[in-house]
Subunit: 144 residues, 4 copies
């Protein structure tokens, strides 16, 4: 179903998005893998990412998952925007933890894509479960 | 129902949390108002907060709402942690926008608090609707 | 902003939807009030609505809120469908309880409507907090 | 990790819950499979389950997923209650459709369980994606 052209398009779109994504850069997000409707990202939690309890702010795991989701849902070449997200936090995240988010499409309809992202730490423990719904606009990444 | 002591406690707890919250500091979050089970926070969107589309990364409005929620749900003095969040984005956020999040308790049960936060921009437009569920642990902020 | 014509349209659309809504009828849902982007519904919890713990099944409060949301988000005359819902349950619901759901729009964008519904029991206690995102199609209720 | 005793307990707990669950009975829910932290349920959509658009009411797929989730998260023998659910609807559900929900644990912490349920129709299309967070109380099913 997914040909070589789809993989090339996916990589080109994500490369373009990453180049402009200043916040993902501040977070130290690396894109480990891109495929149609799928993306894996990683970051290492720093001292400046903690909240009032000294553990990682909820926004850190959220933002990592959200970036992986945004990259994954744009791989088809249509400009695709997030409508809604939910997130849970099964385990706390600490400074020095290395977090990996794998975002992948779970279902699709005419204009919407339904994604799930799982964030794990360096011990393979699930630290966040993220869901995202995306809306495919009629614009393409060529015209952005 | 809410006495002067509750207000003093609320302010003391939030002051302590803010002092340790490095990520909220990076975000430039100011706490505008604190009351029992309620908190208002503000930030100005900077160049280093944009995503691959040149608008604010979803994590920015999320993190602002999440900080306001975390402060609000801890005002009672019990160490209270986020279990789950959901967020929607009715309007895009741009560099230079001034975002204000008002987080307040909608309902409570024995161990859980249910919060809603609304994020508006400088024109009063709703840019994010956030919901958070919080778990009150048996520890208090004195013992943190 | 909202004229008499809007109110007439809202009432006509909801009346038509209610007439076809067999599941809401089984639930015993009464529509108490309709206005543009707003609807209030009520039901009484019966013996055949309990779950394995002898309290109301989560699907009962959910379905009441979902009906109120569906009616509210269609009041503008465009066929509008639910994309996503979330729900929390601050208090249990028992047989004999009378539940009232108030659904109202919190924000809107070009094609999407963001709704909140609060479900209370006969003592005014919040038993469910519901959020719904709706997509306005280009069809109108005349053509259904 | 999961022994024969766990399987016996899981089956016994779910059998007891099903026996009391009047709403699941009305829905025609059959339990197809039970295992520790996992349950599969099925129903056939009837005429009395439609909404104002003549397709299945959102509460039907939700309730099927919610029952599968409730059974799955109680298999360990602790009385476990739902805190929060979210659901999306990638495809419409029609009268006569046979829906199957598979609920399984995605992660766990001291007191909470995080579950996902996927609802598919007789053609294997995903019609609902459901997430549930559950709280394990200190009571056991023996004492209910």
């Amino acid at each position: 179903m997914t040909g070589e052209g789809d993989q090339v398009l996916a990589e080109r779109v994500v490369k373009g998005m990453v180049a402009r994504d200043a916040f993902s850069r501040w977070l130290g997000i690396e894109v480990l893998e891109v495929a149609p409707r799928r993306c894996t990202c990683r970051l290492t939690v720093r001292d400046d990412m903690v909240n009032g309890f000294g553990v990682a702010h909820g926004g850190i795991a959220f933002s990592l998952a959200d970036s992986a989701f945004a990259f994954a849902c744009n791989t088809g070449g249509s400009v695709t925007v997030s409508i809604e997200n939910s997130v849970t936090y099964p385990a706390p995240v600490r400074v020095g933890d290395v977090l990996t988010a794998v975002a992948a499409e779970e279902a699709t309809s005419t204009r919407l894509g339904y994604y799930r992202a799982e964030v794990t730490n360096q011990r393979g423990e699930v630290v966040a479960l993220f869901r995202g719904t995306a809306f495919r606009t009629s614009r393409t990444h060529e015209t952005v």
